[in-house]
Amino acid sequence: MSPPISMVLPMTDAQTVFDAWWGWPPPVLDPAGPYAESVTVLAWALFAMGAVVTAIVAAALYVALFGPAKLKARIGGEKTVWIMGIAFPGVVLLGLLVWGLTLTASLTDPIRGDEQRIRVTGHMWWWDVEYLDAQGRVVLRDANEVHLPVGRPVVLELRSADVIHSFWVPNLSGKKDMIPGRTNLLKVQAEKAGYFGGVCAEYCGGPHALMGFVAVAHEDADYRRFIAGEPLGVPSLAEQQDVPGQLPALARRTGAVAPVSAQAGAVGGALDGEALFMANGCAACHRVAGTEANGLAGPDLTHLSRRLTLAAGVLPNNRGSLQGWIADSQAIKPGNRMPSYDLLSAQDVAAIAEWLDTPR
């Protein structure tokens, strides 16, 4: 599958994973916190080392081909093999091994107990995300995005509901596998507010390539609002500048237009979206807090209206993409575990979308 076209957008503010990954420097070389920082330093060190070794090999090759016989005789002996072929790589590789292992160990720093705890469970092909208090009680259940407080350490408790997935936000840390039956811990910390793309980095079948998420680092006040389930402030389209040829990234992020129900001629409002949601079996797979819907086979839809993306990071979340997803998710993410509802009327789909899109 060729990359979605949104990758070509030079957006400063990301919306989907694809947007978040666009730009220079690439996320792996653009650490946003201490744990990613050390990985980036290691990456540059490895790159530098590779460059040095390549230069030595090229020089040796040059000498072997065109060098004076005397020089060749001097450095061509067994001693060179011992030094350059065994001692040098031995020392360098041992050093790297020690560095790499201690660095890996430091990525799983001991838990002090005052970190924010977030439990992320990989599913084929989406992420269940639960925010826990210090006692491990679930404070907020959400999906497909991970919100972090800036400047505070966060411990991610990584699990899998089915096959092996791997959690990777290159700006924040290295990859960590999510293994069925285990809980792997990953400590991250964001030092700046922003949007960072994340993906599943372990092939997990089917639409694995469309299994991403967006990590959002908030300043403290915003983070508290997020945890409290409050709407996140986004300027309405009217407040945004309309610069021809330039995309107002903020609007794009949440699809901030007036609720369709408030618009002249809207269809959805006339029908009962909640009743349609229940009658069509959506509730068997999805939870919407405060209603009968309590399914666990799909993402929690309680706070869908605040979500940046749909379908695990791949579609911008707005009313249009939401209707398209409900009506025919299989056309968008082939093989995903939600059936297409192509037999529902467009009016019913609009009504369900309207109801789901209500802040709660």
Binding site: M1, S2, P4, I5, S6, V8, L9, M11, Q15, D19, L237, Q240, D242, V243, P244, G245, L247, P248, A251, R252, T254, G255, A256, V257, A258, V260, Q263, A264, G265, A266, V267, G268, L315, P316, N318, R319, G320, S321, Q323, G324, W325, A327, D328, A331, I332, K333, D342, A346, Q347, V349, A350, A353
Partner: protein, 111 residues
Amino acid sequence: MAAACKAPAESRHDFDDKAAERGRIVAAAAGCAACHRLPGIDWPQGRAGPDLTAFDGRGPIAGALPNTPGNLAAFVRNAPAAKPGSTMPAMPITPSEARDVAAYLYGIADD
């Protein structure tokens, strides 16, 4: 170049290539393709709305509105307001982006 292909003012196909290309990028970023097949957008190719690779720029927009650039731009930005009862929702694009999207659609019709 853009000036060279500028059609007379009364033409429906009054657009320039740059606007059409901007419109394509806007359409991709806004997720129009979650419901429509659109040329130049490989993924997704949703099926909930009409296939727009067949957009001809002639018939009435959504079966109801005279096919003019102004109407098309208004429709892609806020369909329920432009055509009461439309099941296509308002989309998060600005008026100038909507004009670019209209140019992109007329570009399809021209090919």
